[in-house]
């Protein structure tokens, strides 16, 4: 037992195993029939239809108006045309009733349709797409004779492990994970920062208000929007510097300083919002940061990964990283070894503030509005992510990679509870308990490795 626990795999990557186990557990729990609706499924559906119907297939594509459905429809249409079949019509509607109206229109216009392409959701929930209803339509309109619905085949696969779900986990947890990077720096110096959630809201409101008041509101250019984002992040960084100075110069406990900043920043956010629930931004360029993508991966995720890589390099290969560990491990010895303890502490709080500011800016871009309630209680999630990731609150120990895993563990637990339909009150109980278990396992592991140091 001891030998297994001492192996490098467990000591360095124990939390990765926890994440994998959670993944397996949730996969097992969400094992179910999958009904693909992505472009690839669309192309293979088109291919299958041409095989069955030959090239004289006259296809109407009937789907909802969502962007996903439009991409799916486009993929079907493109593939059908490539294979020489005809796309008689592409119908995007909101309700089954409208779908019926559109199909009847085709009938009255005498357009020949012998197949309908759709996906599982519409087929199951829209009665008009069932064979009996279609048969009734065919009886009424000769051009629809022999019309049949087609949808992609289904298969068994854990819902958890679908690309869509995994991407959404990354996306939902990116702000917390980004803030957790800064928090890791702070906690390794044996500090804590409770203000991150509030700073996130402050950054959101500063962005929204500066765009509205300084950069031309709805007419703001992209440059103006990013300028406002820059101002917001800078403001949060300065808040971090301020915290760092109070902690070093006046030897104030970081818990108290950041608790105060947390209240002040939240209050300021509400003041900036003028009592409203949100300050909406009409400027066109606002959403681009959140909705854009690099090589098919959304900006937010790319940004998160890039930041984690940078932070990892900083922590493991630069003087700053070495100093952060030294200050957290033994500030006296660090100082006597010539480490500029003062600046190290100011820097880590500045980094933490900047990360919170960035999270706030992403929130603005996501909702195209500055919400004074953004990031409420995020500080706790962020700290939990860092701690679950194996960073010691006593300072001097921890890994950036661990924080990433910690953030993902929390995200996966939440996602799993959601998919199991656990209501949010119960989910909180389980969530909290699992955090305890995760950290307890980590401590027990340490205790077994180094007896008497728990």
């Amino acid at each position: 037992m001891k030998w297994i626990l001492q192996s490098r795999l467990i000591t360095d990557y124990g939390m990765v195993l926890v994440l994998l186990l959670l993944g397996i557990l949730i996969s097992w729990a969400t094992w179910s029939e999958q009904h693909p609706e992505d472009p690839r499924a669309g192309r293979s559906l088109a291919g299958g239809m041409v095989q069955v119907l030959g090239s004289d297939a006259e296809v109407a594509i009937v789907l909802r108006q969502t962007s996903g459905d439009r991409e799916y429809a486009a993929a079907i249409a493109g593939e059908l045309e490539r294979l020489g079949a005809t796309v008689a019509a592409t119908i995007h509607v909101k309700t089954p009733r409208e779908a019926r109206v559109e199909l009847e229109k085709l009938g009255t216009q005498g357009i020949t349709v012998n197949a309908i392409a759709t996906h599982d959701f519409c087929f199951k929930t829209w009665g008009v797409l069932r064979q009996p209803s279609l048969d009734a339509l065919a009886a009424e309109y000769p051009s629809l004779t022999g019309i049949k619905p087609y949808k992609p085949g289904s298969y068994m696969w854990p819902t958890f492990l679908t690309r869509q779900n995994l991407v959404s986990i990354l996306n939902q947890n990116a702000p917390v994970a980004i803030m957790a990077i800064g928090m890791t720096f702070v906690i390794i110096t044996a500090g804590i920062d409770l203000s991150v959630g509030s700073l996130m809201a402050l950054a959101a409101l500063i962005s929204a208000v500066t765009i509205r008041d300084w950069f031309g509101g709805a007419d703001a250019t992209s440059l103006g929007v990013y300028g406002a984002f820059g101002i917001a992040i800078t403001a949060c960084t300065l808040c971090g510097v301020f915290v760092g100075l109070l902690v070093t110069w006046f030897k104030m406990p970081p818990f108290v300083v950041t608790l105060a900043i947390m209240m002040v920043a939240r209050g300021c956010s509400f003041i900036l919002a003028g009592g409203a629930d949100s300050v909406d931004i009409e400027a066109a360029g606002t959403a681009a940061l959140y909705s854009g993508a690099v090589l098919g991966v959304s900006n937010q995720i790319v940004l998160m990964i890039v930041l984690f890589v940078i932070a990892h390099v900083v922590m493991s290969h630069t003087a700053l990283g070495r100093y952060v560990y030294a200050v957290g491990g033994n500030p006296q010895a660090a100082r006597l070894s010539g480490v500029p303890v003062f600046w190290v502490i100011v820097t880590v709080y500045a980094i933490c503030g900047a990360a919170a500011g960035l999270a706030g800016v992403l929130d603005v871009s996501h909702f195209t509005s500055g919400r004074p309630k953004a990031g409420e209680f995020y500080e706790l999630q962020v700290i939990a992510a860092v701690v679950v990731g194996g960073t010691s609150l006593m300072g001097g120990e921890g890994k950036i990679f661990g924080t990433f895993i910690g953030a993902m563990i929390l995200g996966v637990i939440q996602n799993g509870l959601n998919m199991q339909g656990v209501d949010s009150y119960r989910a909180n109980v389980i969530y909290g308990a699992l955090i305890l278990v995760a950290v307890l396992v980590d401590q027990l592991k340490r205790k077994l490795i180094k007896p008497g140091t728990l």
């Binding site: 290969h317 560990y325 030294a326 100082r335 070894s337 010539g338 001097g396």
Partner: protein, 505 residues
């Protein structure tokens, strides 16, 4: 004065031995205390006094030996058992809770039930009675943080008496007292003696010991040197018993050729530890600083290193006045400090040995802000060979290294700096003889290269054997400077260090 030989001993410790990893702290030590007497427990730093007291107080378990109280053998496994046995120990650092009042501190842990505040009135009376018994009035309702050091000491004594202590141990009780307070304390001690309480009194101040003690027991290197009635020994005999050893060949020889002055210090002051200290160090020489614990030696060098701010005074380096505000600046100026306590100040124990080595030296191994760990490792490995550091590898965590090897890692860290002035604070404390010799050789090598060394050491043979010149500090000032350490005896140094004058030799 009681007649110890006729009365029955109050406390007897027989054949006490205690091993710590790598060190024999106590070896077959006997101690006898009679009721109504003051027994002085004497010895150099590290002679084993504290360990013996901690065994008596139940903080350490002895490896061998027996303890008798009133002739009955007793096992003392915990501080609570020591209290029950009537042993009250007043450590140098008081165990008082600053926010609680004198009364609350006295009765802390003895509450008869949860509703302790119901007893406040009776407790207050009891406290007043205790203070009367001691002969010094202290307001029992005053929070301890508002009491003077002397008053806090009285509270500690009252606490011991409230537990019916018949054996009271005082560890350096006068270290932080003013002369008037010392006088007050000696009256208290007379009072306690008259009540039949046995007192073990530890102090470096031989004047006090001569005045107060009836008998003395001397330890050296964990062994019992002897126990004598106080009026049968002279001051010189006392010192000889404490120091005991003669200088032998444990120090490698060296040709010393001191060159020009490197560091000049004038009027350096940081109250209350250091007052008006001036001296200079030449290139190519070892300047030793001797003195007792608390004489201000460490505080002095920490000031030179920028670890503590000075109140006033000047520091000149290479003929230029410098202003050193942080260790970082000192390092840049070519000064480095090997601290007295490696574990709390020398090393970041959670980091690997290589990381500790690199901490002040990252500039040497960095390019574009990135640390070249391979280059760092190569440099470190050179020192591993040169200093014979026993490590499982560069990635070994520093806390798992032995004391001597930890010290060598600290040395490697500073050697890489190639500093002009190297300050050693107790360089060989807790290090075995072989490693000591290697460190001495290295010091010789450094001065041969023209570097200057400041060495603090409480081991008299070491400072006398290694230094070219020697400063002796006493209570924050330089009590004397010895230009030829080879020509004076350890007793002479002790006299200066204990505040007696050299003239009386």
């Amino acid at each position: 004065m009681p007649e110890p030989t006729s009365s029955k001993p109050l406390l007897e410790m027989r054949g006490i031995s205690k091993m710590f990893p790598g060190v024999r702290a106590l070896d077959n030590v006997d101690l006898t205390l009679f009721p109504g007497e003051v027994l002085a427990l004497l010895g150099e730093n590290g002679a084993g006094k504290s360990t013996l007291i901690k065994i008596l107080g139940g903080a350490h378990a002895p490896d061998a030996g027996e303890i008798f109280i009133d002739g009955k053998q007793l096992r003392i496994d915990s501080p609570q058992m020591a209290q029950q046995a009537g042993i009250g120990i007043i450590y140098q650092e008081f165990n008082l809770i600053p926010a609680l009042t004198a009364r609350e501190n006295i009765f802390l842990g003895q509450h008869r039930n949860v509703l302790s505040w119901l007893h406040a009135k009776s407790e207050r009376q009891e406290a007043i009675q205790l203070f009367q018994r001691i002969g010094i009035e202290v307001n029992p309702e005053m929070p301890c943080r508002d009491l003077t050091v002397a008053q806090q000491q009285i509270v500690e004594i009252a606490k011991a008496l409230s537990l019916n202590a018949r054996i009271v141990v005082m560890d350096e009780p006068t270290a932080a007292l003013t002369p008037r307070e010392v006088e007050g304390l000696s009256r208290v001690i007379q009072e306690l003696k008259a009540q039949g309480i046995g007192i073990i009194y530890i102090s470096h101040r031989l004047n006090e010991v001569e005045q107060l003690a009836d008998r003395m027991t001397v330890l050296r290197d964990g062994r019992l040197v002897g126990t004598r009635p106080m009026d049968e020994v002279s001051r010189d005999q006392m010192i000889e018993m404490m120091v005991g050893r003669s200088l032998d060949n444990e120090f490698p020889a060296r040709e010393s050729t001191p060159a020009e002055e490197l560091l000049v210090v004038r009027g350096l002051t940081r109250l209350p530890a250091v007052r008006d200290v001036s001296f200079s160090v030449r290139k190519g020489e070892i300047l030793g600083i001797a003195g007792l614990v608390g004489a201000g030696r460490t505080e002095l060098v920490r000031m030179i290193f920028g670890a503590d701010q000075k109140d006033r005074g000047e520091i000149w380096l290479n003929g230029k006045q410098v202003n050193i505000n942080s260790p970082r600046q000192a390092i840049q100026l070519g000064i480095c400090l090997l601290t007295e306590d490696r574990k709390s100040q020398g090393l970041v124990l959670g980091l690997t040995v290589q990381e500790n080595f690199g901490l002040p030296n990252l500039g040497d191994f960095s390019r574009l802000g990135l640390i070249n760990t391979r280059q760092e490792g190569q440099a470190f490995n050179r020192y591993v060979e040169r200093l014979k550091i026993k490590t499982t590898g560069a990635s070994q965590r520093s806390e798992t290294l032995s004391g001597g090897n930890q010290q060598k890692v600290v040395l490697a860290k500073w050697l890489q700096q190639d500093a002009e002035l190297v300050i050693f604070d107790e360089p060989t404390r807790g290090i075995d003889v072989g490693a000591k010799y290697e460190i001495y050789l290295l010091m010789n090598e450094l001065v041969a290269q023209g570097k200057a060394i400041l060495m603090i050491s409480s081991e008299l043979p070491e400072v006398l054997g290694m230094s070219d010149r020697l400063l002796v500090m006493h209570e924050g000032t330089i009590a004397g400077e010895i230009n030829e350490p080879g020509a004076v005896s350890q007793e002479d140094v002790m006299r200066l260090a204990t505040g007696s004058s050299l003239a009386s030799v």
